[in-house]
């Protein structure tokens, strides 16, 4: 079973809620889901959709084929019709004026039923759900349990009303609708999925940060990162996290640097344009060796670009941002499960090496919803790195030259110490100098950190077994589509595997060079126009990829997109 629902309509019509409801019903019923959100940079109107893929085995990406469309506007009827499979069905509110549609499609009285049965037009959500379930002949009792649980928090009355509306439309549909849907779920019982935690990338980062003892966040809203910030703010009171929406991104990073300098684990969230404004501050964090975590949820640029769309276009920018040279760490989680882990690791790495750690997400990663196993927050280990001894007799030196390049840290207020730092070149004690020898020592101190960092980072993962003829090379969120493409092709007998990087920089080259030498052809698959990761690999190893698959229209990568490009290149 592998079925995709597309819920489309105008911004403000509640399509997100319908999508979430559907996702929840299917997860509750034991199925794997993968939901993407596609919306315009406007608050009302336009054409948005939420697309839910449901399967009885694990899934990791959206696919192009749509089985069922729920349309709340005329645009939504036509918007994705070219992706509807043969025998696919469009359910649309019967108040929408439209050209004659085949009888297989279904003008459903969504608004009407919501108002008449539920007494509230907003229950159109439940109505839509009822229609979808009826069309797919999904057993209503399964959904009923799910709905009860979902709405339970809102009280019995809300549950009953929603179930009633859904049921009304369910029954109505069974009676009235004359089409048939290719998918018959009537025999479905409970799926095998036990992963009942459904998470977006944004939320996973937020949870990871909170579990890692984040104590300060200062940010400025910017799509698609805002939800991560909001998640943390909404739990700030409960967990005692200092949070501030600053006047701009410059202040957000500067404030976070201050908080970290004073001893609080700190983070900022932003997107590329906001990160652009943080570039000078990044250098200050680096020069003062103040740990900091920066989460950049990328979107298509340059400039304002496409604010609510997806791209992996900031990799090289973040790699070299800010004047001068300094070590930094870059991580790009592939999905929400990994994101939680990455967020916790980010804080440990920042503290351990006293360098900026940057997490690269993107709108697709940030907003798409995946079901994952329960996360055990108790397992998160916290490593705050080298702390200066509390009873040293010598005057404290914040930038003591050490073998591994990392100096024991102290915070202002610590007994018997004065902590001094500067963005200027400085002595071991933090006071400024222009001495060329000390300058050299401090540069070399920075460089010594890199091999230490490399030892700590995770190697890339190989999926599909070693020694394939064709290797796909991916990083971050593109993993899912590539992973599924590899699976499909491997099943067809193609010799193909996937080399995937979460820990991007400094680049671990060991497995990379092996896999490159094993493969006849390496294909870089990236959500950008210039194959930035392939460039990074080339720059760090001299190894060139043989082919590039690029998507830069702002819409997420799909397995089909990759397979089509591979086919053009003779791989299929």
């Amino acid at each position: 079973m592998d079925i995709t629902f597309n819920i489309g309509g105008e911004a403000g019509q509640g399509i997100d809620t319908i999508g979430d409801l559907l996702t929840q019903v299917f997860v509750q019923s034991g199925f794997y889901t993968f939901t993407i959100k596609d919306f315009m940079s406007r608050i009302r109107g336009g054409y948005n959709f939420s697309q839910i893929r449901v399967s009885d085995s694990p899934i990791h990406a959206p696919i192009d084929d749509i089985d069922l469309i729920v349309a709340l506007s005329h645009d939504a009827i036509v918007g994705k019709r070219n992706q509807l499979v043969d025998g696919g069905v469009i359910i649309f509110d019967d108040t929408i004026k439209t050209e004659e549609l085949d009888a297989c499609h279904y003008p459903a009285p969504l608004q009407k039923t919501a108002t008449e049965v539920g007494g509230n037009i907003r229950m159109m959500n439940a109505a839509a759900l009822g229609a979808v379930l009826a069309v797919t002949r999904f057993p209503f009792n399964l959904a009923e349990t799910a709905l009860s649980e979902i709405f339970l928090r809102k009280g019995r009355k809300v549950v009953d009303a929603n179930v009633e509306v859904a049921k009304a439309l369910y029954n109505l549909t069974k009676e009235n609708w004359i089409g048939t849907c290719a998918h018959d779920m009537s025999t479905v019982k409970m799926g095998p999925c036990k992963d009942r935690l459904i998470l977006t990338g944004n939320r996973a980062i937020a949870l990871g940060a909170m579990a890692a003892n984040l104590k300060w966040i200062s940010s400025y809203p910017m799509s698609p990162s805002t939800a991560c910030f909001q998640d943390i703010v909404s739990n700030a009171q409960r967990l005692k996290i200092g949070s501030l929406q600053t006047e701009d991104e410059i202040a957000s990073l500067a404030t976070a640097i201050g908080a970290s300098f004073a001893g609080a684990r700190s983070m900022v969230t932003t997107s590329g344009g906001g990160f652009s404004l943080m570039v000078e501050g990044l250098g200050l964090a680096a020069m003062t060796e103040t740990p900091i975590v920066i989460y950049n949820a990328q979107r298509p640029g340059p400039s304002t670009g496409l604010p609510t769309r997806t791209e992996q276009g900031d990799l090289l920018f973040m790699l070299t941002a800010s004047q001068g040279e300094f070590p930094r760490i870059m991580l790009a989680p592939k999905d929400p499960i990994e994101a939680f882990d990455v967020a916790t690791r980010a804080f440990n790495l920042a503290d351990k090496f006293q360098v900026p750690v940057m997490i690269l997400g993107d709108q697709y990663f940030s907003d798409s919803v995946k079901n994952v196993p329960r996360i055990d927050a108790g397992k998160v280990e916290i490593d705050r790195g080298k702390r200066a001894s509390t009873m040293a007799s010598e005057p404290y030196e914040r930038f003591k030259l050490t073998e591994d390049g990392v100096s024991p840290i102290a915070f202002p207020g610590d007994q018997g110490k004065f902590v001094v730092a500067s963005g200027n070149v400085h002595l071991e004690n933090g006071h400024i100098t222009e001495d060329p020898d000390i300058r050299n020592s401090m540069v070399e101190k920075f460089m010594r950190k890199i091999p230490q960092i490399l030892k700590t980072l995770n190697p890339p993962q190989v999926f599909g077994g070693r020694g394939a003829e064709t290797t796909l090379l991916t990083w971050g969120s593109t993993w899912g589509a590539a992973y599924e493409a590899v699976k499909v092709l491997a099943d067809k007998g193609v010799s193909i595997n996937l080399l995937h990087f979460c820990d991007l920089f400094p680049l671990k080259t060991h497995i990379l060079t092996e896999v490159f030498s094993e493969a006849k052809g390496v294909v870089a698959v990236e959500q950008n126009a210039t194959s930035q990761f392939a460039k990074l690999v080339l720059m760090e190893t001299g190894l060139t990829v043989d082919k590039r698959v690029n998507k830069y229209d702002g819409r997420p990568m799909t397995p089909r997109f990759i397979m089509d490009r591979l086919k053009e290149g003779g791989i299929s």
């Binding site: 104590k215 404030t255 609080a264």
Partner: protein
């Protein structure tokens, strides 16, 4: 009481002979010494410029940050540990140009900081270009050759008052006794305190020099001024034609930013451990 010896600066001073920064440093040592706060609880945050080198000349915790960003960094330091006494030392170019937004917003939030502006009307360290507080017509290497600085100066006292600062004063590097008193008041004030310090730049600014200030300043307090009226204070701030007022313009008790944030009861985010069970509960609430 912290002794002069304890505060002895770690580095040799690099300011020009006769620079107004010396008076500020001396006053600062005085004010810090007598405040009654342990020495290791002070943090100086500075920007970039001549005056911003002050952390290297006094023995306290310090971070010498970026041009214009000191207030934002200081805000973070303060909120991570409310025990700290956070002092911001910045230039006029620094804070009234590059960093004006941060100044206005920190004032508006009433962040508990003491901000000391080393106001010399020029960019000293970059060799004397007109700064935002240079007088209209002030000639320097980057002003239009004929017109000089082509605009009225930033009146930082008026700006801070408009933004909502809850303690606003002006001192003069040449009046150390007065300046020490203002600094001490600013440090004791709970909320955003700003002291605009008239600081002659011996090398570049031939107009706003010792003589000029000695002749063109007068004390607000000695001449009767209501420090409880914001609008009266603004009016006084604008009345700086021939005579420039010094002293306290305005003072007010008002909630500080920290009181609104979700800080731990002891105000020390730096040492706070998030209750991991609460995080687990947040996660578990998401499970269907």
């Amino acid at each position: 009481m912290i002794t002069k010896e304890q505060l002895e600066g770690p580095q040799k001073i690099t300011w020009c002979t006769g620079c107004g920064n010396f008076g500020i440093l001396a006053s600062l040592k005085n004010a810090v010494g007598e405040l009654g706060v342990p020495q290791n609880q002070f943090v100086i945050v500075s920007g970039i410029g001549c005056g911003s080198k002050i952390p290297h000349y006094i023995n306290l915790n310090a971070i010498h940050t970026l041009h214009g960003r000191a207030i934002a960094v200081a805000q973070g330091i303060h909120l991570a540990n409310l025990d700290l006494q956070v002092l911001v030392h910045v230039g006029d170019g620094d804070t009234l140009g590059e960093g004006l937004g941060h100044l206005m917003h920190a004032a508006r939030r009433n962040v508990n900081l003491s901000v000391f502006i080393h106001n010399n009307g020029v960019m000293g360290l970059t060799k004397g270009q007109f700064s935002p507080s240079a007088p209209r017509g002030y000639v320097s290497s980057t002003s239009p050759p004929e017109a000089g600085a082509p605009m009225n100066p930033v009146n930082v006292v008026a700006y801070a008052l408009t933004a909502g600062a809850t303690f606003v004063a002006r001192g003069f590097s040449g009046d150390q006794k007065g300046l020490v008193a203002l600094m001490r008041k600013a440090m004791k004030h709970k909320g955003f305190a700003l002291v605009d310090i008239l600081q002659p730049c011996q090398t570049w600014n031939r107009q706003l020099n010792w003589k000029f200030y000695n002749e063109h300043t007068y004390s607000l307090q000695e001449n009767g001024h209501d420090i409880n009226s914001r609008i009266a204070a603004i009016e006084k701030a604008f009345s700086n034609g021939d005579k420039i007022p010094t002293g306290v313009f305005y003072e007010e008790k008002a909630p500080t930013l920290a009181e609104s944030l979700a800080l731990p009861p002891d105000g020390r985010l730096r040492d706070h451990q998030t209750d991991i069970k609460a995080v687990q509960a947040i996660i578990d609430e998401l499970i269907l």
